[in-house]
Every structure is written in C-alpha cells, then in structure tokens.
C-alpha cells in the first residue's frame, strides 16, 4: 500500500473516510469534541459566575480591563485560519498534496499570530497587576482563555507534526484522515473562540 | 390496581406504619416522633411516600415471585422450550402510565411543602413600632461548635439553642470556616451553613423540652467538616413563651459581666488570664467570638457538646481538648495550666449560670 501512490484520478471521493481506520478517526475526533464541549461549558459557566468577583475593593473589572481592538484582531486571525484550513481540505479532496501542505502552513502561521497576541495580552494584564492569583475573577479569566490557548497550542503542534512527518510521504489513505481530524479540531477551536469573544470580551466591556 | 385500594385501606396501612415507625428511636433525636409543624409535615410526607413505595415494592415482588415460581425449569423439565415473545404494547403502556400517576401523586405534596418551607418573608415583618414580629436567630457554625445570636434581643449564646414553643422561629445560617449543616432531627429537616452566603429557613417547636430525658432536643452537624464532625453536637432547650422571655431577660441582665484578673478567686483569675480572650462570660453581644460564650455554662447539658456535664469532664476538656475533639481550635492556645488552676477554673465555669 505504501509503495503505490495515489493519483487524483484514483483518489477516492471521501478519502478521509475510505478506510475503517479513517472512519474511526473521523467519528473519534467528533466524540472527543463533544466531550470538549462540556469541558468548555464548565470553564465558561465558572467564569460567568465569577466575573468581576474579587476581594473587597478590587480595582479590576471586565469593563475596565478588556480592549476590543486586540480582541478584534485576534478574532480575525483565528477566523481566517479556519478558512485556510478549509482550503487545505479542499486540496485534500483533489489530492493536491502541495496545496494541503501550503494551506496548512498558512493556518499555522495565522494560529501563531493569534497565540502571540494572546501571550502579549496575558503579559500585559499580569504587568498591570491582574495576575492569576489576584482574584477569583482573574483566576477564572486566565483559566478560560488559557484553556482555549492550550487548545490552540495543541492544535498547532498537531498540525506541524503532520506537515513535517508527511512531507516526504505524500497523501495516502493512512494520513488523509489525520489531516482531516486536525482540521475539524482546528475549526472547533474557532467555534469556542466565537463564544469567548462574544461572552468574555464583548459582553465584558458592556459590564 | 389503584381503584381496588380503598381509602380506608390506605389509612389503616398508614396507621400501622406510624405505630411501627414510632417505636423506633429516642424522642429527643428521632425524626419519627416529630414535634412542631415542620417536622410533622415532613413525617407525613415520609409516611405517604413510604406507602407508595411499599406498594410498588410489593407489587413488583409479587409479580416477580409468581413469574419465577411458575417458570422454574426444574418443574417444567429440561427440554421445555418457551415461546419467544417480543413484547407487548399494552403492558408497556400500563407500566409507564401507572408509575407516572404515582409520581404525580407524590409530586403534589412535594411541591407544596417545598415552597412552604422556603417562605421566610415573615422574617422581615415589623409591627407598628418597627420591631420584628418574628423571632430570628443567627446561627454561625464553627469548627466544631455552634453560636446562636438573637439580634433583636442583643444576646448571644453557644452550644445550646433556646427557643419558645409554638411559633415560627426563623434562622439565618452561615458558616465561619468550612461548610456545616444545621439539623435538629426531632424538629425538622436540615439546612446547610455555607461560607459565602446566609441561608434562611424556619422551624417550629411543638412542645417544651423539659420532660425529655435530658431536658433538651439533640441537634447535629450534618455535613462532613473535619475529624470532629461526629462530635459537633448542640442541644435545643424549648421553653414556653414566658419561660423564654424570662431567659432573655436573664441573659440581658448579664451585660458587662466579665472575669477579673485581679480577682481573689483563682478560677476567675486564671480564666481572665488564659481564657477570656476567646470565651465571653456576658450574654450580651453579637456573634463572632473565637470560642463558645460561657455565660450559661452552668445551665448546660454537655461539655463541649458531647461530654457529660460534670466538673470532672470539664477538667478533662481543659487539660487536653485534643484527646476529646481532634482538630478543635482551642487546643494549645492557652499555655500550660497546673492541676490546681484547672480545678479552680472548672469550678468557676461551672458556677456561671443565669438560672436560679
């Protein structure tokens, strides 16, 4: 199987689900995402009930802390990276391996940009005294956004591993499901971010 | 099935159960001989639900035994091949609908009582002069003791709750350190004392406690709170309204009472030097003390909630509280005392009383 290479003509229609293992990976990543939904729901709910709560006389509040321009740029980066990974999957369907690699790499770059901004944001907060242990609010904020950030890191490492290790192998039925699963995961990260920018940042500045 | 069960049968079943259940337990602690409206209502709900549950269990058991007895292979023969039935819609409807009906029947008193017990509006009602009409007690649960503050009366006591009969007594419940739960089984259900908020509920005390074995109802901490959770008991003294008023007056009269380090009494002197920073000997004040208020200690029923009320156990307590209540917050806070001092301080504390 490894020796014979696929061509766009022989590449099956739903390549990522053409083998049993592919199907398993596909269903598996989705079920994992389902469990991640309740994971995020828990952190989110915790954040909501601890928002703006702190020791008596705490000076920080969501309304005074969050800055929309930064959140907006981060949102745009992540949203765009979602689209680029769709492009990668488009090329995967057409068995255009180079296209897959290039678009996945762009996705990684955008993801890195997002991550850099997030790190900058955290650094900034800590710098002005809003550290992890400052209040219940700060703990909940960093935990929620940090959990999302951790997902971004995992997604990036995952995609980079795929890009690197498959560089010489080309696209086949063994690694197509892996790309596909990674891209589904990456979209899910974006889904979560939609809630974060809406609930944490936008509703945050509303107070 | 339900129709056949005439009302009187249900009642006689209930009656039999009441007799059986109330044979259980000691009157001052059991939920099965409740006093007061709250406890009684909960007890009735208990009887009612037991009746339903007994019915369910009996029906299921009879069906099951009957099915089993008829279907034993030892009777039918080794080769008997039963008919392979898929199921039956009629039966399925029956055993879906009947439980639903039973549950609806149970849900009605459940919902009524839930809302009723949560109704604490009367707590804030005032008469024309602006005085609260209802008696309110602020309960603070602490590792491993209870503080009872009567905000309207301006008094505070510990370990022994004193309340009047036949009126709603409202409680503000909170915990000072970790979560506990306030429970007087013979009077009504419990309510947790949380660390971050005040819970409110009410109880009613149906009869005076004087003729009980110890002259008090028993109260319990019902939430695991550390090693001595099992020992975090309190007592409830229920007086008639006049008796209660007298008690309040006597408490208020202790205003300003304190122990003097200059006293000639070794007990008082020791107390003033070693104990007074945590234990008050005046009943007037608010909650928030480090240790139980000892103004009424001589009138109490137990030492530290669990020990027999005697000088000997008091001495044992002061000598080594840790051996009695592991993890308590008194241990090691007051230096070494000689046996003589302990004996004297015990005499002094035993003498603190507001009853004649």
């Amino acid at each position: 199987m490894e020796e014979t290479k696929f061509t766009p003509q022989t590449w099956p229609d739903k390549a990522e689900q053409a083998t049993l293992e592919g199907k398993n990976k596909f269903v598996g990543i989705w079920i994992f995402i389902c469990s991640d939904i309740t994971l995020f729901a828990s952190v989110f709910a915790t954040y909501l009930s601890l928002k703006d709560k702190g020791p008596a006389g705490m000076e920080f509040s969501a309304a005074s802390l969050f800055e929309l321009p930064l959140a907006f740029v981060m949102t745009m980066l992540l949203l765009t990276s979602s689209l680029t990974s769709v492009y990668a999957m488009y090329h995967l369907k057409n068995h255009n391996f180079k296209g897959v690699q290039i678009w996945m790499s762009i996705t990684v770059l955008l993801g890195l940009g997002f991550l850099a901004l997030e790190i900058y944001e955290f650094y900034h907060y800590v710098h002005i005294g809003f550290g992890y242990t400052q209040s219940a609010f700060s703990s909940a904020f960093f935990t929620l956004v940090g959990t999302h950030g951790l997902h971004v890191v995992i997604g990036l490492v995952w995609i980079v591993c795929l890009i690197v290790r498959n560089a010489k192998r080309g696209l086949n039925l063994y690694n197509a499901p892996k790309y596909y699963a990674a891209s589904i995961f990456w979209h899910f990260i974006d889904v979560i971010w939609v809630f974060i920018f809406t609930v944490v940042y936008l509703m945050g500045v509303l107070g | 099935m339900m129709k056949g069960l005439k009302k009187w049968r249900l009642f006689s079943l209930l009656a039999v159960m009441t007799v059986f259940l109330s044979a259980c337990g000691e009157e001052y602690i059991t939920t099965l001989k409740p006093t007061g409206a709250v406890g009684k209502e909960q007890f009735n709900l208990l009887l009612f639900s037991i009746a339903i549950m007994a019915l369910v269990t009996i029906v299921v058991s009879v069906l099951y035994l009957y099915a089993f007895m008829k279907a034993r292979r030892s009777k039918l023969g080794e080769d008997y091949m039963p008919k392979q039935v898929e199921g039956s819609h009629t039966l399925e409807v029956i055993w879906t609908v009947i439980p639903i009906i039973l549950l609806l029947i149970l849900a009605v008193p459940t919902l009524i009582s839930t809302y009723k017990f949560a109704d604490v509006k009367a707590m804030d009602e005032v008469d024309e002069e602006g005085n609260k009409t209802a008696l309110t007690v602020n309960v603070t649960a602490k590792l491993y003791w209870w503080e009872f503050e009567y905000p309207e009366q301006g008094i505070v006591t510990a370990q022994e709750l004193v309340v009047p009969t036949d009126e709603k007594v409202y409680f503000n419940l909170k915990a000072a350190d970790v979560k506990h739960s306030f429970w007087i089984p013979a009077v009504g259900g419990k309510m947790d004392t949380n660390v971050e908020n005040v819970n409110k509920f009410y109880l009613e005390f149906g009869k005076e406690s004087a003729d009980l074995k110890d002259g008090v109802f028993y109260g319990k901490c019902a939430e695991l709170c550390g090693p001595s959770h099992a020992l975090m008991d309190f007592k409830v003294k229920v007086l008639d309204r006049d008796g209660f008023n007298d008690w309040v007056a006597a408490m208020q009269a202790t205003e300003g009472q304190t122990a003097s380090a200059e006293s000639t009494d070794l007990g008082e002197q020791t107390f003033a030097n070693s104990c007074l920073m945590c234990h008050a000997v005046s009943g007037v004040g608010a909650s928030g003390a480090m240790g139980p208020n000892l103004t009424t200690f001589g009138d109490r029923n137990r030492v530290a909630g669990v020990l027999e009320h005697s000088k000997e156990s008091l001495e044992n307590w002061v000598k080594d509280p840790e051996s009695i209540k592991p993890g308590n917050l008194m241990t090691g806070k007051y230096g070494e005392l000689s046996d003589e001092e302990i004996s004297a301080v015990a005499d002094y504390i035993m003498g603190l009383s507001i009853e004649e």
């Binding site: 309740t38 609010f137 290790r165 | 000691e26 639900s49 099951y64 279907a71 039935v85 399925e92 939430e223």
Partner: protein
C-alpha cells in the same frame, strides 16, 4: 509476532512484557478485572474497618482522622477504581465479541486508558504511605478540601485527574467501536443490550467526566498554585465545586448502573431460555435514563439553599427517572414470565438483584421529594439508599457476570457450588448491613460520623449492621477462593458454555483466539447466535467474508510510558506547594516523558500486521485440535 501468540508456554518475563504492551481487548479486559478486584478488596476492607469502628458506641478502634480517610478512600476507590474498572473489564472482554469486531476502534488508546487508570489509582493509594490519605469524603466539598492540611486532598485531585483521563479515553473508544465496527447486518436495533448500555454509558462518560476534570483542575490550582476559585474571601465560591462535582457525580452513578442493567439483560434471557421482553423499550429506557441523568444533579444539593424553584424543578425531574427504570424492571420480570428458568449462580444474582434494586430505587424517589430530603440528606438513610442500588444492583451484576463470562474470558468455569454459598452469605449479609441503616437515618444518625454517643438509641442497629458487613466479607473471601481454585481447573475448550447463549459472544469457541472470529460473522437478526442455532447451523454462524488475511494492531509499550510520565509529573505538582526545589523540574520531566512518547507515537507509522491464512489455520488447529473452530 503473531506466531508468538500461538505458543502458550512463554517465560515469565515474556508473559509480563506481553501484558505490559498488549493492546488486545481480551487481555485488557482481564487486566481491568483483576485491577478492579484488587481495589474492590481494598475498599471493602476499608468498609469493614469502618463498620468495626461503628459496631459499638464510643469505640476507639480507629481515630477520627483515620476514619475520615477510610471513608473517603472507601467511597472514592469503590466508585472510581473498583466498580468502573470491573465493568470496563466486561465491556472490553465482551463488547467486541458481541458486535463481531476484531478489536476496539483504537487498541492503542484502550491500553493507554487502562494504564492511566491503573497508575492514577496507585498514585492515589500511595497517599496512605506519604503522609495521609484524602479525608474530605468522596464528594470533596471545597471548603473542607481547601482547609484540609497535608497532601491527602492533593493525592485525591491528581490521582482522579489521571485515572479520570483514562476513563474518558476508554469511553470515547467504546463509542467509536460500537458506532463503526459492528459486523455486517448488526444494525443499532439488533445490538445486544449490553452493547447498548455500554454505548450509552460511554456517552455519559464523554459528557460527565469533563466537568469533573475541570472541577479537579480548579481544586488543584486553588490548592497548589494559589488560585481563588473556591476562596470566598477572594471572590470565589464553593458552590461552584458542588455543582461541577454533581454534574459529574450524578451521571456517574448511572455510568455504573447502566452496564449492570445491560449485564442482567444478557443473563436473564439466557437462563430463562427466552427472548428479552420488550427489546426496543429497553433500548429506549436506556437512552432516556442517560438523558435524564444529566438533568437532575441538584437533588444532591436540596439543602444547599438553592431556593424553592430550583428544588422543585430538580425534585420532579428526579422522580421522572423512576419511569424508564420501572420499564426495565417490568421487562425483566416479563422475560422470566413464561420462560424456563434455570437457577445457576449468575441467575441467582439476577434474581436477587430485582427486588434489592427496586428497594434501593424507591428510596431514591423518596429522597427526590425535596422537603423529605431535608430530613434524609446526609443521614444514614442515604447510605442505605445508595448501597441498595450499588451493592444490590452493581455488585450483584459484577459477581453474577464473573460466573457468567468466566468461561469466555478464561476458558474455565467458576465452581457453582461455592458460588451458591457465596451468593447466599453475601446476599444475607448485604440486607443485614444496609436494611437497618434506613432506620438509623430516620432515627437521626448523620452519615460520615466516626463514632456516636450511647444514649441516642442507635446501638443495636449499628451492631446488626456491622455483623452484616462481616458476612459480606466472608462472601467476598469465598469468591476469591473460588477464583483461585478455578485457576487450577481444567480448560473447557467449548462453545456456548451455558447451552442457551443467544448473542454473538457465545458463537465463538474458547479459548478465543487473539483475532476473535476468524471470519467476520453475518448478523441476520437480534440474538444472532440463537437464530443460527435454531436454524440448525452447525458452524455456529454464517460469515460475511471468505477466510482471508486478518489485519491486527501492533503491541506497544508507549501507553505505559505515557502513563508513567503523568505519574511522575503528579509528584512534581503535589510537592510544589511545599517549596521543594525539585518539584517543578519533576513536573516538567514527567510531562516531557508523556509528550515525548506521544511524539514518538505520531512520528512512527503504526500500520499493524497481517495474520496470514496459513497462520490462522495453524492457530485454530493448535487451539481446538483438528478441524479448528467449527
């Protein structure tokens, strides 16, 4: 590789290596079974110590602090480390056979799940030797848990975090297996009930464990890294813990009881020689219980002070669960009705289960009546309730299924005679221990007390209860003896040991070869093996494919390595608050081991290997003599 599996006589080292690296669902099933039994014995022993302490008033057999440790470890171990793995053992051993699969969807993850669970469990138990076990109850309520000195709670948090990750992984694995790997013809509505309950249980795991993970994480950072989630002086709130815990905790009890229901739904039809009554309503009830299980958690918090409306909603929702559960009970009874019941040991457990579980279930409904629960909550009534459903429902299922499935799992049969003794002693002991506790609760005895005063009228009943616990212990010891004796008995080498097997797992000859069915069976209806048998099919099954090469996954040591990494990292986190200089490096080292193993895993292609036709024929001849599996 594959030929190694044919030869049985391997040295100890090779066998050990085989088990450490195996990804075979049958071997992992056996490992789960033994690990679970070990922890069941430990936790049962802890229960015994508690009962001995409570036998007489004012007893000083164990100290207050020790009692709290025993009680916490008993509850935690029983639920997470005994009942769950024992049920996982059966799921692993049986479900792939029941659906005619070669293995689970992710054999590697299956092994990882086991090792995470096992090392997490070991980590938790090390607390006994490293300065004290957790002591805040299995519910670990935040205020007490933050207050508790020493490292007990830290062991709880980290140990459960690790073993919980294992459970979550296994849960996802089973879902995928059941969704994608059923043999041709096995539609959802032809799946055996144990497979169904495994599916729903795994779904509950998928949704319920993440809230626990989050709760534990918040507790971890609060205790070890000075976060403020539960510290109310810093704006935190302990009720968050209660919610997160019970959002997990209530589904958890159904996670345990659903597979038990499934096991009984397998046992009863076999010994009643009759098709399971109302199959589709059984499936429906399972799904409904799973769904409702998520909507009722606050019934554990009626006295927390959530307010009347919340209590009312949750009370009614809780009561609703009685309906689907009742459907199940009546379906079992109707399966027996008109059947031909053979009273073997598994059936004995099933017969004992029905009334015991109903008795436990109805007290649950009583507790669901919120105002009544104000009296019952945190009293011994609760203890009685949940031991009735747990011991009467889950432990009977486990013991019964041990007898039931031992022939498939080990190619040996447990002694029926000893089994009957075990059953009666255990069963009588069980009722003796817990029936009386209902009354203790009503008589005002709170739970989680290390001792009680003599003047409260509880002495006699506590004494009776403790005697019951001793009887149960004797029963368990008999079971262990039975297992030991059986290990020395002759192999069965048979098919359909009980004679009336219905589902696919009975169609295969024991010992089951490592690739399961040599050809994937074709399923023509519900109870496929029964169908074939009664159509006079001598082969046992008809097959969906010709005999061909079989593709199997490779063994791997990496799951163990990853789990060890987590184990090491946990020590780093644990000792961090003590200001030990090596703590953070150890934490990083452990995580590095895990991540390193993951990278190795992802960089190396793992394509598995093929068992060729000749090898299959040889294996079958070796196992079953001439002619192979016919």
């Amino acid at each position: 590789m594959s030929s190694a599996a044919v030869t049985n006589n391997k040295g100890f080292g090779a066998t050990l290596w085989d088990y450490l690296t195996t990804v075979d669902h049958k071997k992992l099933g056996v490992m789960y079974l033994f690990a679970g039994t070990l922890f069941f014995a430990i936790a049962g022993f802890e229960a015994l110590l508690m009962r001995l302490q409570l036998m007489i008033p004012n007893n000083d057999f164990v100290s207050a602090g020790t009692f709290n440790e025993l009680l916490t470890m008993h509850g935690t171990t029983m639920l997470f480390l005994a009942a769950t793995p024992l049920l996982f053992g059966f799921m692993n051993a049986v479900v792939p056979l029941q659906i005619g699969a070669r293995d689970v969807a992710f054999p590697f993850l299956n092994s990882l799940g086991f090792w995470l669970f096992f090392l997490g469990a070991i980590f938790l138990h090390l607390s006994f030797f490293l300065g004290g076990a957790p002591d805040a109850g299995w519910t670990n309520y935040a205020s007490l848990a933050l207050y508790s000195p020493g490292h007990g709670i830290d062991f709880y948090v980290l140990g459960l975090q690790i073993s919980g990750a294992g459970t979550l992984i296994s849960g996802i694995n089973f879902i995928v297996t059941i969704i994608t790997m059923r043999a041709p013809g096995m539609t959802f509505m032809r799946m055996p009930l144990f497979t169904w309950t495994t599916l729903i249980t795994s779904a509950l795991i998928t949704f319920a464990f993440p809230p626990l993970t989050v709760g534990l994480f918040l507790m971890l950072v609060d205790r070890m890294f000075d976060a403020n989630f539960f510290d109310h002086t810093m704006g935190g709130n302990t009720i968050i813990w209660e919610h997160l815990f019970w959002i997990f905790g209530h589904p958890e009890v159904y996670i345990l009881v659903l597979p038990a229901f499934g096991l009984f739904s397998e046992i009863i039809p076999v010994f009643a020689r009759k098709r399971l009554f109302g199959y589709s309503s059984m499936v429906f009830a399972t799904i409904l219980i799973g769904f409702l299980g998520f909507m009722v958690w606050a019934h554990h918090m009626f006295t927390t002070g959530l307010g009347a409306t919340a209590n009312a909603i949750f009370a009614v929702a809780t009561m609703a669960i009685a309906v689907p559960t009742g459907m199940k009970v009546f379906n079992w009874i109707m399966t027996i009705w008109g059947g031909s019941v053979k009273v073997t040991v598994p059936m004995l457990y099933a017969l004992g289960f029905i009334p015991s579980f109903v008795a436990g279930g109805v007290t649950g409904v009583m507790q669901a009546a919120a105002p009544l629960d104000y009296q019952l909550h945190d009293s011994y009534f609760i203890v009685a309730h949940f031991h009735y459903v747990i011991v009467g429902g889950i432990v009977t299922a486990i013991f019964g299924s041990m007898h039931f499935y031992w022939p498939i799992m080990f190619n040996r049969a447990l002694s029926e005679k000893l089994g009957v003794w075990t059953f009666w002693i255990f069963f009588i002991g069980f009722h003796c221990t817990f029936f009386i506790q209902h009354f203790l609760g009503l008589m005002g005895m709170p739970r989680r007390v290390f001792t009680y005063q003599a003047d409260q009228g509880w002495d006699l009943f506590n004494f009776i209860s403790s005697i019951g616990a001793i009887l149960m212990a004797i029963g368990v010891v008999l079971l262990v003896i039975n297992i030991i004796i059986t290990a020395k008995s002759k192999p069965l080498n048979c098919r359909d040991y009980w004679g009336d097997g219905r589902s696919l797992e009975w169609a295969i000859k024991t010992p089951v070869p490592f690739y399961n069915f040599k050809q994937t069976p074709l399923v023509r209806g519900y109870d496929p093996y029964w169908l074939e048998k009664h159509d006079g099919n001598k082969e046992g099954m008809i097959y969906a494919e010709p005999l061909g090469d079989i593709h199997m996954p490779n063994n791997s040591i990496l799951p163990l390595v990853m789990s060890i990494g987590m184990f090491v990292a946990a020590f780093g986190a644990l000792y961090h608050p003590d200001g030990k200089a090596w703590a953070i490096p150890v934490l990083i080292l452990g995580l590095a081991i895990t991540v390193g193993a993951m990278i190795v895993r992802s960089v190396k292609d793992d394509l598995g290997f093929h068992v060729h036709v000749e090898e299959i024929v040889a294996t079958e001849e070796h196992l079953y003599g001439n002619g192979g599996n016919k």
